[in-house]
């Protein structure tokens, strides 16, 4: 009982201390996060004009690279998160892409029909949930991102095309996954990791970190000709 | 009406029986393997090839070759040709055992053998297999019922169980008497029912593959497949009786039943001719003869089936000389049996192509052992039954 009380009070103090400490956060990152969380009103109707007309319209309205305010966006949205959550958001360098491509219509391919609305509206205004029965031809936000990015990257032979080229994997919280007794020793810890990551363990056995053997002239009491390393004399401790 | 069937009371254990025993053991081991390791463990069946030897031979061919039962019953009892009665009991026994082993084969083949009763309660009347299953199930019981008088004839008033089992003597005897009396009363229904059920499932066995129009080679896939199956069942019925009677009489050294067999083959000539006409006509009307010279194993198998299973034996039977020689009749009958068996194998196995994967199917050793084991067991039981029950006609003169 006493033990428990001591433990919990210690825990409370820790939490309080943590919450009081001011952690520095990057302001633009926070802004991007906030923006990614927004839900905007769905735009049903768009103006179906062809690409050249659209370019002319943009020039006429005087929209240029200077209007690109944000360095980057986080491509993320509650619309996507509701369905699947395997990967972290992608940091999309908007300004850089705009400068490289120098053609807003490449991505901002249509505009809302309502003339009072912004010329280059954001993706998630038109592309929202997938498989909208009222707009079957309209692809969802996730597909819009992927189609736009990968197709262009493939065509231009430039830019990442694999999943982890853009995304960080969402590593699941291991708090409940790892089951270790208090005071576990190194072997128990490794065994626990291998319980799920057996493949990683096998791969490890093939790496130089495990197999390296060779001279170790700088190790005390060893000379050049002494073969050393994990593959020979050093302790392979699991 | 000078026939009187009686038990043979011959020596049971002969070298042939031991050979059978070896096959039975091999089959038994394979069946054990099937029920411990799964169908995939003993067979070459796959997604692309869900039905193989067991369905093609144990079930389809088994049913076809058991057709002797209903064809002879129809002849003797319904059309009243009583001179054929000596062959009815052996034919009935063959049918009964045949169908029993069809069901045993099915039990091995279906994945959930313990669920075999489910079609009784869950009906899908669109399913051809459902109808076949129902018919086979009822028919099997009809056959058992038809067999009761034979058992009763031997054991009525003579039930003598040894030791403490003797207590059961009286009840079993009573049961036999009642069963015999009931069977006798409704025998005419049973006989007609047997023929009707046989016609139904023999033809439907042909409809089975019609649900897969894209998978069966056009040489066999025809809307009249059920009719072809029915006629071929008619056609193979008597040859099968001839085939086995000859085998049995010569193996037991009984006098051959040529006096009966010769008229039987006349009927066969007619039915087989009809079957041949249907098959040839179907081929010409649908124009499938264009495949004949493809030279693939499928078309070759068709040619063999047509030539040696239908046309040649038919020509043989047309000749009176062949019809009257014991050897000639036997050879022709064997060829017809072979032809119909090959037809079933062709429709269910050879003519089947999977739409996507290349599936060069050949039965595995395990599958073959199971099939051979079942056949050997069937022969074993047949021998056992004719030895101890009044099935075959007693020899007029002892010729051993």
């Amino acid at each position: 009982m006493i033990k428990k009380i001591i433990f919990y009070s210690g825990f409370m103090i820790l939490v309080a201390a943590l919450s009081m400490a001011q952690v520095w956060k990057a302001p633009d990152q926070e802004k991007a996060k906030e923006r990614a969380k927004e839900r905007v009103k769905f735009i049903k109707d768009y103006k179906d004009e062809d690409n050249i007309l659209r370019k002319i319209a943009l020039i006429e309205k005087g929209i240029s690279l200077d209007d690109v305010k944000n360095n980057y966006f986080l491509l993320d949205s509650p619309i996507i998160k509701e369905r699947e959550d395997h990967y972290g958001p992608v940091r999309f360098a908007h300004k850089r892409h705009a400068a490289l491509i120098n053609d807003c219509t490449e991505c901002h391919h249509y505009r809302p029909k309502d003339e009072s609305m912004l010329e280059t509206t954001r993706c998630s205004a038109c592309h929202q949930d997938s498989f909208n029965a009222d707009h079957p031809e309209r692809i969802g936000l996730k597909a819009a991102f992927h189609q736009q990015c990968t197709e262009c990257h493939q065509e231009e032979q430039n830019g990442p095309v694999t999943c982890t080229g853009c995304h960080l994997k969402n590593v699941p919280d291991h708090k409940d996954l790892v089951k270790l007794a208090d005071n576990s020793d190194a072997f128990q810890v490794t065994a626990e990791c291998l319980r799920c990551h057996d493949q990683a363990g096998e791969d490890m056995l093939k790496t130089a970190h495990w197999n390296w053997r060779g001279p170790s002239p700088y190790t005390v009491k060893h000379r050049k000709d002494v073969q050393h390393g994990k593959g020979t004399t050093a302790l392979n401790n699991y | 009406m000078n026939h009187k069937a009686s038990p043979l009371n011959r020596k049971f254990w002969t070298p042939g029986v031991f050979v059978m025993l070896v096959f039975m053991i091999a089959g038994f081991v394979s069946i054990i393997a099937r029920f411990t390791g799964g169908i995939g463990y003993v067979s070459n069946l796959s997604t692309a090839r869900p039905w193989g030897l067991w369905v093609g031979v144990d079930v389809a061919t088994g049913v076809a070759l058991a057709a002797g039962g209903f064809t002879t019953a129809a002849l003797a009892h319904i059309f009243g040709c009583h001179s054929y009665e000596p062959i009815i009991r052996p034919a009935l026994l063959t049918a009964m055992l045949g169908y029993t082993f069809v069901v045993l084969g099915l039990m091995v083949d279906i994945g959930r053998s313990w669920a075999i009763w489910k079609p009784i309660f869950f009906w899908n009347t669109n399913s051809v297999l459902f109808e076949v299953a129902m018919c086979v199930m009822i028919y099997l019981h009809v056959l058992y019922f038809e067999f009761i008088p034979i058992v009763a004839e031997q054991f009525k008033n003579k039930v003598r169980l040894p030791g403490p089992l003797a207590l059961l003597n009286a009840p079993i005897d009573l049961f036999l008497k009642i069963a015999d009396a009931v069977a006798g009363k409704i025998m005419w229904i049973l006989i007609i029912l047997g023929v009707v059920l046989s016609c139904m499932h023999q033809s439907s066995l042909g409809s089975l593959m019609l649900v897969a129009p894209t998978k069966i080679h056009p040489l066999w896939y025809t809307p009249i497949l059920p009719l072809l199956f029915l006629t071929s069942a008619f056609a193979v019925g008597y040859p099968m009786v001839v085939f086995e009677t000859t085998l049995v009489t010569s193996s037991f050294k009984l006098n051959s039943e040529m006096s009966i067999l010769t008229p039987l083959t006349r009927i066969t000539t007619f039915v087989l001719g009809l079957y041949m006409l249907l098959k040839l006509g179907d081929m010409f009307i649908r124009g499938t003869y264009v495949y004949l010279l493809d030279g693939t194993y499928q078309t070759n198998s068709f040619i063999i089936e047509m030539m040696f299973g239908i046309i040649v034996p038919w020509l043989m039977l047309v000749s009176k000389k062949v019809r009257q020689s014991r050897k000639g009749v036997f050879i022709a009958a064997t060829m017809i049996v072979f032809g119909v068996a090959l037809n079933r194998i062709n429709v269910f196995i050879v003519g089947y192509t999977s739409p996507v994967s290349e599936s060069g199917y050949f039965p595995s050793v395990g599958e073959i052992f199971v099939t051979l084991g079942l056949i050997a067991t069937l022969m074993f039981v047949y021998r056992f039954v004719v030895t101890f029950l009044p099935v075959l006609q007693a020899p007029k003169e002892v010729s051993s």
Binding site: - | G38, D109, A183
Partner: protein, 304 residues
């Protein structure tokens, strides 16, 4: 033979009655396809071979995980088929065209059960364990299945797989169209949800069919003019559009006639109300009665 006159006429009466109902049973075959099923449109020009659909499918259906290492392209070296552990697989084909760097351009093909409108497997199943649901899914109920594998024989797409290595309780395994998920409001199939490029579009089949045709029309030269599954075996709930002819992508070439049409027609015209067996029974009974009278023989009792 206890064939009395009375018994005999009783049966003949039944026969007559059954012949009378005959005309009503002789209707033409009718499709049992649901009018407005769900479906999926697979656009092979969009699929990039990421195999996320395989992952999602195995997760939602609690199957073993697909072959490891999703980004390792060696899995594409062999053409795979859906099996008892994977309801859907993605295969790679080459179009014969090259990209700017002279690398051959791949076409990826996801395969799974097509959820036919008039499924051969459903017609075949001896116990009705397979059923075509109103929402389009062809659903398997293991509690009825006896394992005869007739569904596998019948399927024109070679889809249902079998747990051949389970000795006692093997199951037929195939894509469920995520029946439980799509039965819920707003529910989606696992594979369609996860597909990053929306190569799989979920929706009402009728809408998808229009959509498919619109895509073909709006992008001249991009697609071959064929919506696979529109007419094949009477139509399937899953549809495909592609830049390559389907015959090059190992899709079976199938007739427009629903597979079960012929067998069901024969079956029903022969056996509805059991008219033909009853008729035959009566007929044989008549013959038997006649022949019995002719050579009335007291001896032919039993004997079978």
């Amino acid at each position: 033979m206890q064939l009395t006159r009375r018994n005999f006429f009783k049966f003949m009466g039944a026969t007559g009655a059954s012949v009378a109902v005959l005309p009503s049973s002789a209707q033409a075959w009718q499709s049992k396809a649901p009018p407005d099923p769900y479906g999926c449109l697979v656009d092979l020009t969009r699929c990039n071979g990421c195999r996320k659909c395989e992952d999602a499918c195995s997760t939602v259906n609690e199957l073993p995980p697909p072959i490891k290492d999703v980004c390792d392209c060696t899995v594409f070296e062999k053409k795979r088929r859906p099996d008892e552990n994977a309801f859907t697989v993605v295969n790679r084909y080459f179009s014969g065209k090259l990209d700017e760097l002279d690398k051959p351009l791949p076409v990826f093909v996801k395969i799974q059960c097509m959820h036919c409108q008039d499924p051969a497997c459903v017609s075949a199943c001896i116990v009705g364990a397979l059923t075509k649901k109103e929402n389009g899914a062809v659903h398997y109920d293991v509690s009825k299945c006896i394992g005869c594998r007739y569904c596998m024989v019948a399927c024109p797409f070679e889809i249902p797989a079998y747990e051949y290595h389970d000795p006692i309780t093997p199951r037929v395994r195939k894509c469920t169209f995520c029946f439980d998920r799509i039965s819920k409001d707003g529910g989606l199939p696992g594979c369609a949800t996860i597909c990053p490029v929306e190569a799989i579009t979920f929706g009402k089949r009728n809408t998808l069919l229009e959509l498919a045709k619109k895509r073909i029309k709006d992008n001249p030269g991009k697609y071959v003019d064929h919506v696979y599954g529109e007419k094949e075996v009477g139509g399937t709930s899953w549809l495909y559009v592609s830049s390559l002819p389907f015959s090059k992508l190992n899709f079976p070439q199938l007739p427009e006639k629903p597979s079960p049409k012929l067998s069901e027609t024969i079956q029903h015209s022969l056996f509805s109300y059991l008219w033909s067996p009853i008729l035959l029974f009566g007929l044989l009974g008549g013959i038997m009665y006649k022949s019995k009278k002719k050579n009335d023989n007291p001896q032919d009792k039993g004997g079978a």
